[in-house]
């Protein structure tokens, strides 16, 4: 090992933190290397110097008194408030209000689609009935005469369209509130 490789060991040795198993090797090296002996001596001396020169500063005797006084002045002596908790509940309230608005919007959209779908379906069905049912019935079912629109058939068509509307509406609701899907 070269001197440079012993440098970290010298530092640890000077601090008294060199692992026991490394010690014999270092001591053997020190026995034959004057330069490393000098570095170690310098480091140990430096350690003493720094231990002595870097002194703990002292707080003033009235530190705590002044601290409490400052707390009284700045906070009016009141205990600290639950500010972060308040903030949390505020954010939560905002979030929930937003979610409710979103749901309302979704329900409104569902309602519009309901109405549109229902209108189209009913209209289409009625138009088909009006236009083609007489011929359809006449030619396919062998009925000779068609006196006009059949109320029960029209009612069945409306019921089917309404059911489809209800299904769409249910599908558009938030996951937890669906009753059919």
């Amino acid at each position: 090992m070269r001197c440079a490789e012993f440098e970290p060991w010298l530092l640890e040795h000077a601090e008294g933190s060199l692992p026991e198993e490394k010690r014999p090797l270092l001591i053997a090296h020190l026995a034959e290397c004057a330069q490393c002996r000098q570095t170690l001596a310098d480091l140990q001396s430096l350690d003493h110097t720094l231990s002595r020169e870097i002194r703990k500063p002292q707080l003033s005797a009235d530190f705590n008194e002044r601290l409490w006084q400052r707390i009284r002045v700045e906070t009016g002596g009141a205990a600290p408030t639950q500010l972060p908790l308040e903030r949390v509940s505020k954010v939560r309230a905002e979030y929930e209000a937003g979610l409710r608005a979103l749901r309302r919007g979704k329900i409104l959209a569902a309602g519009l689609i309901d109405a549109l779908g229902l209108g189209l379906l009913v209209g289409g069905f009625a138009y088909a009935l009006y236009k083609h049912l007489p011929e359809f019935l006449k030619y396919n079912l062998g009925l000779r005469e068609w006196g006009g629109l059949d109320i029960p058939v029209l009612a069945a068509g409306c019921a089917i369209a309404f059911a489809i509307g209800v299904l769409i509406r249910d599908w558009l609701k938030p996951a937890g509130q669906r009753s059919l899907f």
């Binding site: 440098e7 601090e15 570095t39 001596a41 430096l46 870097i54 707080l59 601290l67 205990a79 600290p80």
Partner: protein
Amino acid sequence: MDANDPVASIPRDTQQSAEDQLHRHLAEGRYREAFEVLVAEYRDRIFTLAFGILRNEHTAEDMTQEILLRIWKGLPGYRRTASISTWVYAISRNVCFTELKRRAARATVSMSDPEIQDKVDSTVSSQMPGGELGHALDVQALLGKLPEHYRRVIVLFYLEDKSYNAVADMLGIFLGTVKTYLHRAKLEFLKLIRMEESRVNW
């Protein structure tokens, strides 16, 4: 924790119980009691950290007041996601570094500045007696020549009774980093002393 770490190993039980006490008080919303435990436990360590960063006793004391005031205000917001010491030291570093920046931003510094005067005073008082390495050299001035992150680590290391763990906790850096900085700082310091001595001897 390190077995040969004098600071970390001795007051461990007291540390534990103080921390428990603190958490109990906090859980029950007794902030004043919690704060009293915290002040007793951390006041001096916060002061040491502030001194290590700001290099001036008066400023460090002012900042310790500022830090504790912030801790008092923030106490209800403390959650157990971080240990209390991590939380306290993070606030402390934050306040101190903000203060450093604020000071650096002030362009003009006059010699009548109390900080400068303190420096001059401490320089006079810390002249080393002869007969030792770097005798008659001013240790504080030489420390000031080290890169700031080395100086901070070396100062805190000796202020915290040579505990790597304490320095790592305070500065929020890894133990390995503390060791590396400390060793480089010492070698650098030796170099500075030798340079200074050869300059004096000329």
